[in-house]
């Protein structure tokens, strides 16, 4: 009896019943505004029902490695995505969906008078980075090393959002965050990095289940209308 019921449910799920099916998408927290909010995902004439779990890419990776049920994963860099693929958790190839660049966020009015990357070495300023364990921290450390800046860091925040929040509150004079986060926040100003500094990361998306809506969701991400939405938010679209 019970076996039958289980088999039946399995058959139903495999059928591709798009009307009632919801997919779960684990996405890097820097995509919160652009993927969430009023975004609609329409593919092949149907509006997809998408549930999001936003968190730092590394946190999501740990959740997925621990068996969390996600249909699609979007990471904020390639290394985290590679971990998922190397762990054999997907049969699908990962697709690039956009890229994002680091910039210096300062509180409105730039009270610390930050001019560029080298100011992050000024001990009298409070400076924050993302932790080295998350993609934005890896990226920030790379450019600081490449530009030979010995930054005087006061905090390593565990994700880009909490880092930005400390700039918004005026607790930090400067922080290296994603350009999109700066554009989205009315309470911070941007001090652009000198051209050629680097600090660009690519977002990758991959299907983790063979749910048909997952495939459609990826198509919707790559469609022109969504790529425009990404560009408006400050991402570099494909």
């Amino acid at each position: 009896m019970l076996l039958c019921a289980v088999a039946l449910v399995g058959a139903c799920a495999g059928d591709g019943d798009t009307q009632s099916s919801t997919i779960t998408v684990f996405a890097a927290s820097s995509l919160t505004d652009v993927l969430g909010g009023d975004a609609q995902y329409v593919a092949s004439g149907t509006t997809l029902d998408v549930k999001f779990n936003f968190a730092g890419s590394s946190t999501l990776r740990e959740q997925i490695l621990d068996g969390a049920d996600a249909d699609v994963f979007i990471s904020a860099n390639e290394a985290v995505m590679s971990d998922i693929i190397d762990a054999g958790l997907t049969d699908f190839p990962a697709a690039q969906i956009a890229s994002n660049t680091l910039t210096i966020a300062v509180p409105k009015g730039n009270p610390g008078r930050v001019d560029g990357l080298s100011d992050l070495g000024e001990p009298s300023l409070t400076v924050g980075l993302c932790a080295l364990q998350v993609p934005c921290g890896v990226l920030a450390t790379e450019i600081l090393l490449a530009q030979h800046v010995d930054a005087s860091i006061d905090t390593f925040e565990l994700n880009a959002r909490s880092l930005l929040a400390k700039v918004e509150l005026g607790e930090l004079d400067a922080a290296l965050v994603y350009r999109t986060d700066v554009l989205a926040s009315p309470e911070v100003d941007e001090v652009e990095l000198a051209p050629g500094t680097g600090g660009t990361t690519t977002y990758f998306a991959v299907q983790l289940s063979d749910h048909p809506a997952g495939q459609r969701f990826l198509e919707a991400l790559l469609a022109g209308s969504f790529q425009e939405r990404l560009a408006d938010a400050g991402f570099e679209a494909l």
Binding site: G56, S58, T59, E62, T126, G128, A131, L132, Q133, V134, I153, D154, T155, F156, E157, L158, S162, K166, L169, G170, E171
Partner: protein, 266 residues
């Protein structure tokens, strides 16, 4: 010798089953942690400078927080228990708020009050140049904020349970109020006070959310053991489990040793 009134016959099965399930909720995660512990790499994982720094920061901040809890929490508990004033119930509710508040919210509230652009923090910086966030003092303040309610609740209960007769006796013998408080009242409540200190200290030791929000996360300055665990979880799970094990061992030793010694004695 303790006089034991424990029931000799078998306990009712329903109660026993529920109690075993209840115990399982605590015992199983602990076993899970021990099971995941990389015993072979333990010494190597725990000897890193980051871990040693975190142990020192945790030890210092939790002990100083416990001390501050006593210095300010005992008078506060006394005020709440013994002095009638308007708004007492509201104050009591506010004092115990950190027990139910998500710690991250507590940390944000601390920033709004004591942050560099906060209500108190802004004039404080203007006057003295002192900035609380991102310093070890911020860790101590966050720890005290989440821990003190445990001491206040425990000690206030003890103050209330005194009937006042010994204080009255001391008073007729000519002792002044402060002397009565120090020499009569405090000794009477000392079992509760010690229990409150251990609870508050344990809460401070495990504190994470308010700390990371209010004081940030910098190894060697503000990164306590719980923060180190959280950061390590993102990169090296073995290290995270190893650090958790230290936290558990410290807490376990203190709770087992002192709980029996302090709570059961009246």
């Amino acid at each position: 010798m303790r006089t034991s009134r424990s029931v000799r016959q078998r306990p009712p099965a329903a109660i026993l089953i529920a109690a075993v399930i209840g115990a399982g909720l605590f015992v199983l995660p602990l076993i899970g942690l021990l099971w995941r512990t990389p015993w072979g790499r333990l010494a190597e994982l725990l000897s890193s400078k980051i871990v040693r720094d975190a142990i020192v920061i945790s030890a210092v901040t939790s002990l100083v927080a416990a001390l501050l809890c006593v210095m300010f929490g005992v008078p506060l508990a006394w005020l709440l228990a013994r002095v009638e004033f308007p708004g007492r119930n509201i104050l009591r509710a506010i004092v115990t708020l950190p027990m139910v508040l998500p710690p991250v919210v507590g940390g944000a509230a601390l920033l709004f009050a004591f942050g560099r652009r906060g209500l108190i923090g802004d004039p404080l910086e203007a006057a003295t140049g002192f900035v609380l966030p991102f310093s070890i003092w911020a860790v101590i303040v966050a720890n005290t904020f989440v821990a003190m309610p445990f001491l206040v609740v425990t000690v206030e209960g003890a103050f209330r349970s005194l009937d006042g007769s010994q204080e009255a006796a001391a008073s007729t013998l000519g002792a002044n109020q402060l002397t009565i408080f120090r020499r009569v009242v405090l000794p009477l409540i000392s079992p509760s006070l010690r229990a409150g200190i251990v609870l508050a200290w344990a809460r401070a030791l495990g504190e994470f959310g308010a700390t990371i929000t209010f004081s940030g996360n910098l190894p060697g300055r503000t990164q306590s053991l719980p923060l180190a665990v959280f950061v390590a979880l993102e990169s090296d799970r073995d290290a995270a489990v190893a650090i958790s094990l230290i936290l558990i061992m410290i807490s376990f030793v203190v709770l087992v040793l002192f709980r029996d010694r302090w709570w059961s004695r009246q």
